[in-house]
Symmetry: C2
Subunit: 302 residues, 2 copies
């Protein structure tokens, strides 16, 4: 039985290359040749573990883009606010959302609605790897510290993008929100949400525990009364979890030369299976590689 | 508990409108005002039912784009080739694929590998609703007969796009394929597959029966030996199913004025919840509305 995407081959591209030029490599080949400095470990103070019966979802937080909401989420996690609450909404090709289904859980007094963090001014020294392929929605897109981001230099604004796996803060009609309701994108990038919600992070591992959940049958994918919301065992900051219980993950540095090579290997796939090279790539189609730290023991099942 | 997307409101946009201009409506409001002529019924000879234990997946075929493969698929369906076979691959944020896991099912003798149908010449009278918003991958995109499509008029080529829900033909390293292995897109549009496989249709109903399946743990999301492939009860052409058992669905005509209004209502969401209007829309973010025929009885559970 053939597969949709063929076995990865060490094929050179069809374009004639100067003798000194390296053969084009697939992403797995590129990553196999990475040096340790190409990777950065997740910071336990910027990492959330969403624990479900099926396994752990690891979320890297982005305080550099939404400091007020990330501070609230850290407080909520430390207070075990989400533990025992539930996934309340699974809308196909859109989002999974978790919150207090009954609205009875007391919120820590220091967690209040904070100002909208839909976008922000561009700092003087923003790490930024531009993607020159263009974008339907934003004047300029690329990557900063492991996150997909748009820049509007004319108006001095930057914002995170609603790509697959991004995590945001649900809100009602007020622009302000607190962080007691969170969602992850599980479908085609809903970029119309950009600059309409505070994005606070990205799922770096375990998204399948969210994306394969049964869809809710009420409007907008909310679970109906007859359906059982999926319980949340815990939502914790990695720093609050014993070291031996942590997921020791590393993310490819998006300011590395290797990451640019990864992008090119996706833009023009070197594998023999591909008959037409795309030549371009959508920012939300760029994978941001994640791996277990090479010396890490197999992470225990939580 | 607030929701990510607010209740649909009959709000006008924030832009001052000339008195005669109609207030902008949300998509559900627009569709509520549709006339019967805005909708077209699915042609039973162009409609597949993929029957799973959890329910029916309805696929509209696109013989105008891949006539050879669609002919093969019709033959396979008539021979009940897929009945009792299985979903063999579920790769997160990518595809669900079904085929013969053991490779033992006899293939009807008239079904052989046919020429690649990755793209085709543009016919003289192609129904085409252009999307002027631009595209990262193709010179021109839009909609034809209910399908997302790209045009390259300079080279006289057109091709279907790998948007969410599109159905294609798995192949090995040969460009030719037969149609005994099919897949549906369940993630962010993998547009790098455009012009690398024959797309043959689109899921118009029931995609959640595919997208919520457990992900396979082998490479590329294939189910491992220890995992149970999801059985296919039947894959049939609607024309071969008794009328009372059919799903009586209608698709919004993509050459209608109403469809252009739907696109605009997604490009600049009129709902009060939205603080930033996107102003643009990605072709794979345009919904192609589907409804049960108003006079249809509730479709029986197959």
């Amino acid at each position: 039985v053939g597969s949709l995407v063929g076995v990865l081959l060490a094929a050179t591209s069809g374009v004639a290359l100067a003798p000194a030029a390296p053969a084009r490599q697939s992403i797995s080949e590129l990553l196999a040749g990475a040096s340790p400095a190409d990777w950065r470990p997740l910071d336990p103070n910027n990492t959330l573990y969403l624990e479900l019966a099926s396994g752990r979802v690891v979320i890297e937080l982005a305080p550099q883009f939404a400091p007020l909401h990330v501070a609230n989420i850290r407080t909520l996690a430390a207070a075990h606010y989400f533990d025992g609450l539930a996934i309340v909404r699974v809308q196909d090709n859109y989002v999974v959302q978790w919150a207090d289904p009954d609205g009875r859980r007391p919120v820590p007094p220091t967690v209040t609605k904070v100002a909208a963090e839909f976008d922000s001014a561009i700092p003087a020294h923003l790490p930024f790897t531009p993607l020159p392929d263009g974008d339907v929605y934003a004047p300029r897109v690329g990557f900063s510290d492991g996150f997909p981001v748009a820049l509007d230099t004319r108006h001095d604004r930057m914002w995170l993008l609603h790509c697959y796996g991004m995590v945001g803060v649900g809100r009602d009609d007020d622009a302000e929100s607190s962080g007691t309701e969170l969602y992850a994108v599980i479908g085609h990038a809903p970029r119309h949400l950009d600059r309409n919600v505070a994005l606070v992070g990205r799922v770096v591992s375990g998204i399948e525990h969210l994306s394969s959940l049964p869809r809710g049958s009420d409007a907008m994918g909310f679970y109906a009364k007859s359906e059982t919301p999926v319980p949340i065992r815990a939502l914790e900051l990695a720093a609050d979890v014993p070291t031996a219980q942590r997921s020791d993950l590393e993310v490819l540095r998006t300011d590395s030369k290797l990451f640019e090579d990864v992008i090119e290997a996706r833009r023009n796939r070197p594998e023999e299976w591909f008959r037409t090279k795309a030549g371009r790539i959508d920012v939300c189609n760029v994978p941001i590689p994640v791996r277990a730290h090479p010396s890490a023991p197999t992470a225990p099942t939580p």
